[in-house]
């Protein structure tokens, strides 16, 4: 895989830094995050609560409340027509429609645009249409005073120039696509009359009704029980395979990542500490934090032993340790100066020509590695 004939990523987050002004002063929730998502790819973003996963996703849609939030630096490049072989003909006609609607950015056909520079008006055209988002709480993510149908129709009518009856057809189809039986009559049902799994399906139907190219799934299954969780993930995989859309799957469940993601970004304290294809990261985790995460996972069928935990707690983002923010909890840390002195950059670690990034002074090959942009263009066929 040569560098120059790589297709363009659909979304590239560059050096994103977001901070929040709070009573304890300015807190950097996201600190120099780099990510990229290719068409048809699923990027799994893993990390503990408060490590900046959700803020990264919300930033993509400019949904971070400002104030107190602030975009300190970085850009989010959006390239709706990266010209990859995976993009279907319908999606390309749709994107030309959007760009003619938007009008103000005729370059969007080939040139990536910086979503952080978009105005609220321009973002409204992107939200739900090109990039959709589903949230963690299906219980409260639907407006209780409207029927499910009205809410799906709203999403469709906002972005597509169709009549109401056509929109109803689209909505019914969207509900059928997410496996809701008797879709037409379900449109007239209020959210509280549905179960959690059903509501999350409705959320997915709403998000996908406008055929987005990228779906930001912020812990879509955390609030659901395990069987429903499996169904929802299966559904996302199926819909992704049908439509060739990309998914940014935010989770703290490594099992979910293993089954669904092509590429993994492990985040800690607002930065990406390890990045690589799901295969590489799971086979050969490099960063001590990632290793710690795997050690704390029970393995089915192994003999009974105590799981290893990562000692200590997530640092307070207002008061991060000096140098590498992970060093107080790190098992590789042995009092070395470099860990406390400076934050290790995310370097490409390339043994065996793999594309694998990690930010730890202790990783073999980190010093020789280059600080390249983490960029893995694989769509693993784990789905089949």
């Amino acid at each position: 895989m040569m560098q120059h004939d790589k297709p363009q990523p659909l979304l590239r987050v560059e050096n994103l830094a977001v901070s929040f002004d709070g009573p304890a002063g300015r807190v950097r929730a996201v600190n120099g995050v780099n990510l990229s998502i290719y068409p048809g790819q699923t990027l799994g973003v893993v990390g503990e609560s408060g490590c900046g996963k959700s803020v990264s996703a919300l930033s993509t849609l400019q949904l971070v409340p400002t104030p107190p939030g602030r975009f300190e630096s970085g850009s989010i490049w959006w390239n709706p027509t990266p010209g990859s072989p995976g993009s279907s003909p319908e999606s390309s006609t749709k994107s030309s429609e959007t760009s003619s609607e938007t009008g103000s950015d005729p370059v969007s056909l080939s040139q990536p645009v910086d979503l952080l520079k978009y105005s609220e008006k321009q973002m409204q055209k992107i939200r739900g249409n090109d990039i959709a988002m589903i949230f963690q709480e299906p219980m409260t993510s639907l407006n209780p005073v409207y029927t499910v149908g009205e809410q799906i129709l709203e999403a469709i009518l906002l972005h597509q120039k169709v009549s109401r009856s056509q929109a109803v057809d689209i909505a019914v189809q969207a509900l059928k696509d997410v496996g809701i039986a008797d879709a037409a009559s379900r449109l007239r049902v209020y959210p509280h009359q549905m179960s959690g799994g059903m509501r999350q399906r409705v959320m997915i139907a709403m998000a996908l009704a406008c055929q987005p190219k990228l779906l930001l799934a912020d812990e879509p299954t955390t609030a659901l029980d395990v069987t429903i969780q499996a169904q929802i993930l299966e559904l996302l995989r199926k819909l992704q395979a049908e439509r060739g859309m990309s998914i940014m799957l935010i989770t703290h469940d490594l099992g979910v990542v293993a089954e669904n993601a092509d590429v993994v970004a492990v985040m800690y304290a607002g930065r990406v500490v390890e990045y690589g294809s799901v295969h590489d990261v799971f086979e050969n985790p490099l960063h001590p934090y990632t290793q710690g995460l795997f050690d704390s996972m029970p393995i089915l069928g192994s003999s009974k032993h105590r799981l290893r935990t990562i000692e200590g707690n997530v640092p307070n983002p207002a008061d991060l340790p000096s140098g590498c923010p992970f060093h107080p909890r790190c098992r590789s840390y042995a009092g070395d100066q470099r860990c406390t002195a400076s934050d290790p950059p995310l370097h490409e670690i390339t043994p065996d020509f793999r594309e694998h990034w990690a930010s730890c002074w202790h990783v073999d090959g980190h010093e020789q590695g280059k600080a390249t942009r983490p960029d893995v263009d694989v769509v693993t066929q784990i789905h089949a």
Binding site: L63, G128, F135, L142, E154, L158, H192, Q193
Partner: protein
């Protein structure tokens, strides 16, 4: 397809135990006669017959007559129209100001919110009745001037009195509602479905009108139906103090206060209790307040889909 459809939950009948319907019937049964009889009651409320003072309800006066020989029936009808008019208008004014104030403060947040809510706190701190009296006094010349410019003088004086009264009551009773609404907006705007709506590309203004405001309908309706009886009571209290509806004009409030005075004079005159002077306005007022509460309850149930029974 058919059998599946038939097993689907049917929407339940809206008027279950029909307290709502009962309330509506009560209200209409009282309000309609009051309003429809206005052309006659306005002429007859003041007609005196000194030969028929303090007659008990019977064939001549079906609700009795008062100490000046005026028909209590006509006076109750006009008084009802005035009381209801003041109550409803004051409630509309109060809900209008309260909802606007509360939503703007809650949605804007930050300094605007702090400033607006401190104003509410200050107004809360002042004695309520004092505020009404001050507002009433401050407004009355202005309202009278405007009214005189628009209609014949005799009408204008009486109407401007009512207008200042209802503006004063409405202008003071929105404070609680503003606080309640602001609290609701504060919690609602952090709700995931508001964020989800924005993530769908819904604009801020539409989010406010289409997603936030309908969720406030419940508290607004409940408060409005509670504000109407409250305003009616305020009006009667002010009339009792002599600031409200003035002498020849009746309202349920001042009719009741006249009745109370008559009740107190039983022992002195030695005559029978003039119960009708107190009972009729009180019964009418009580039934109206009850009807309003029933209707408010039913409206809340109807407008809030969460209180419809869930069927999983």
């Amino acid at each position: 397809m058919e059998p599946i459809l038939s097993t689907l939950p049917q929407r339940r009948s809206r008027w279950r135990l029909n307290t709502g319907m009962l309330g509506a019937v009560l209200l209409l049964g009282i309000a309609l006669p009051c309003l429809l009889s206005l052309p006659w009651s306005l002429k007859l409320y003041d007609a005196q017959d000194y030969t028929l003072i303090n007659t008990a309800p019977g064939s001549t006066f079906w609700m009795g007559s008062d100490g000046l020989g005026r028909s209590l029936g006509w006076r109750c009808l006009l008084g009802g129209a005035i009381s209801l008019g003041i109550g409803i208008s004051a409630a509309i004014i109060s809900v209008g100001i309260g909802v606007t104030w509360g939503t703007v403060a809650g949605y804007a947040g930050g300094r605007i919110d702090a400033l607006m809510m401190r104003i509410v706190d200050v107004l809360f701190g002042l004695p309520y009745i004092l505020l009404v009296v001050l507002l009433d006094l401050a407004l009355s010349p202005f309202v009278e001037h405007v009214a005189k410019w628009m209609m014949p003088d005799t009408w204008a004086v009486q109407l401007s009195q009512l207008l200042t009264l209802l503006i004063a009551i409405g202008g003071v009773s929105w404070l609680t509602l503003a606080r309640v609404i602001r609290g609701q907006v504060l919690s609602l705007r952090e709700q995931p479905f508001i964020e989800a709506a924005r993530a769908c590309g819904v604009g801020r203004v539409r989010t406010f009108w289409y997603h936030l405001l309908p969720n406030l309908v419940g508290p607004i309706v409940v408060y409005a139906t509670l504000t109407i009886p409250n305003a009616i009571l305020q009006e009667s209290f002010l009339s009792f103090l002599g600031i409200g509806v003035q002498a020849p004009m009746p309202s349920w409030g001042n009719l009741a206060s006249e009745g109370t005075e008559q009740l107190a004079s039983i022992g002195l005159t030695g005559s029978f209790t003039r119960w009708w002077l107190l009972v009729w306005p009180c019964v009418l007022l009580g039934l109206t307040l009850m009807g309003l509460n029933f209707v408010g309850d039913a409206l809340r149930d109807k407008l809030d889909p969460r209180s419809r029974k869930s069927h999983r």
